[in-house]
Amino acid sequence: MSIGDFRTLNLEETGPLYPVLIGISTYHADSLQYEGLSVPEVIEAMALIDTGASLTAIDTGITDRLKLMPIDYVNVSSVTEAGVRAPIFDVDLIIEPNQLVVPNIRVVELSLGGGIQCLIGRDILSRMLLIYNGVRNSIILCN
C-alpha cells in the first residue's frame, strides 16, 4: 500500500488540498515521442479533493499549457447552474506525496479559480482510501 500524508496549517480553512502533477497522458506522450516531437513538462498544481465532483476537473490554464486537444464533450451541472458544455481531455495525474500515478484518465476542463488548478473527483477517489483528519490537519490518500 502506498500512503501519502499531506498536512496543512488549517484544514478547516483551506479545505482538503493536495499537491499533484498533471501531464499529458502516457499514450499521448508515447505518440509524440514516436513522431520525434517534444513532450510538454508536467505541471505542478494544487488540487482540492472534492467528493461532490463525479469526475476530476482541471483548470483551463493547465490545458492551454499542455497544448491538449479535447477528446469529447460533456454537460456539467451543479446545484446552482444548469448544464454547461465542457471539453474532456486525457491526462496523467501524479499524486505528489506518495508519487501515485493515475494514468490516461478523462478530466473535464473548467475555469476553477481561487488558486485551485484541479478538483480530484470520485472517479479517482473510487480507487483509493481517503482519510480526512481534522484534528491533525492532514489528508491521507492511499491505494
Partner: protein, 79 residues
Amino acid sequence: MTESDTLNKELETFAKMRDKLLADHEGKWALISGDRLIDTFTSHDDALKRGYEECGEKSFLLKQIKRYERSIHLLPRIA
C-alpha cells in the same frame, strides 16, 4: 480551427451512427476520426491507445455509447 470547431465533424458522425452503435455496441467506447468510425472498444484505455496510434496529433473523438448521456455533477465551492 477554433476551439468551438474541434470535434464538430466527429460529433456529427457519432450522431449519425448513434442508433446503430446503440443496437450493436451499447456500453462500449466509440473511436471516431472525421467521418470514420475506427472501432469500438470495451475499455477506455484500449480505445485511447488506439486513438493515438491511428491519429497521432490529429483530433479524434472517444465517446461512450449510451442511451442517455448523463451530466457531470459538481457541487459549488462556498469559499
